[in-house]
Symmetry: C2
């Protein structure tokens, strides 16, 4: 889904790209590039045009993956941006990635007066909220195997483009446990 | 924090209550009243004027508390409302509670044209998102004792107004474990 399709689908069916109320800059990140690093105060929001990204939380020595992002997702170290505090997460490109970059400072200015920008900000944040709540409920009620099944059903590209050890880190299990789950599902 | 103060603080410093772009109806719930029940499609958003509420997820026989709400919080079975699906959570009053009720259908209509409503919806959703992300990170990186400490620091009213077994359900531990934590902290 392109940004224009996103806005036409979720915000305004009449939307045309030339009516976008803020500038976007297209940028390429290479596989393994760091997009937002730990301790940086986030100053951008990204719209993913191609590729897969991950968002990682540092926990002592053991990292936790909190999110994967795909085509048509907005992403950002959003808590850092909203609170203007150093980021406790790191966003990296898992593949070569192209994004639209929206500068937070410009967006905040546009939010003062633009109905479209506020609708888009509201809807995009609603979708981020839904994703977080779903993850919280799933972690509390489903087994790792059920959550793995959901993941490949919702995002079949996951298994193709994300290393197994990263999927295990997202599910909160050891890579060996994920291998056992996959073997069970294949037989 | 009143609704007018909330909007003046987070949305528009010039805001006056008579400019509210949608109707609110004040309502009293008694302690233990169900505000939104399982399987209902949520059609309201609440602003909490007085008291404490909780949001609970049913998991087989064992319930999980996902959220507490206090004075100045917006709350709702928000995933149900946004997706128009039956609620998998239940919201109840832990004390006598007064709320402002906003009808979702009216809000959706007002969202079409009102800059203020969209700003408010965006900001309120940003704050709900921040709370969810904080909870996810805390569950992954902090012990139950650290999370209990945070809870009483951020919301001192928690320990005064919420039964211990509910706090334990929120922290994801047994009531006996919470009693041990509290004894340790008092000595």
């Amino acid at each position: 889904m392109t940004l224009a399709e996103y806005i036409a689908t979720f915000v305004d069916p009449e939307f045309k790209f030339e009516n976008l109320p803020f500038k976007v800059e297209e940028k390429l990140f290479l596989k393994n590039d760091i997009i937002t690093n730990y301790n940086k105060i986030e100053d951008k929001i990204y719209f993913l045009n191609k590729g897969v990204c991950q968002l990682k939380l540092q926990k002592n020595d053991e990292d936790k993956i909190l999110d994967f992002f795909f085509l048509g997702d907005f992403f950002s170290s959003y808590s850092s941006l909203l609170l203007q505090k150093p980021s406790d997460v790191q966003i990296t490109a898992l593949t070569n990635v192209t994004v639209f970059i929206i500068k937070a400072q410009e967006l905040m200015n546009v939010y003062q007066h633009s109905l479209l920008a506020n609708k888009l900000g509201r809807v995009a944040t609603e979708r981020l909220f839904l994703k977080k709540v779903k993850r919280e409920k799933d972690l509390l009620t489903k087994t790792a195997e059920e959550r793995y099944n959901d993941l490949i059903k919702e995002s079949p590209e996951v298994i193709l483009r994300i290393p197994l050890k990263n999927i295990a880190m997202y599910l909160g299990i050891k890579p060996e446990s994920l291998s056992r789950i996959r073997k069970r599902l294949l037989t």
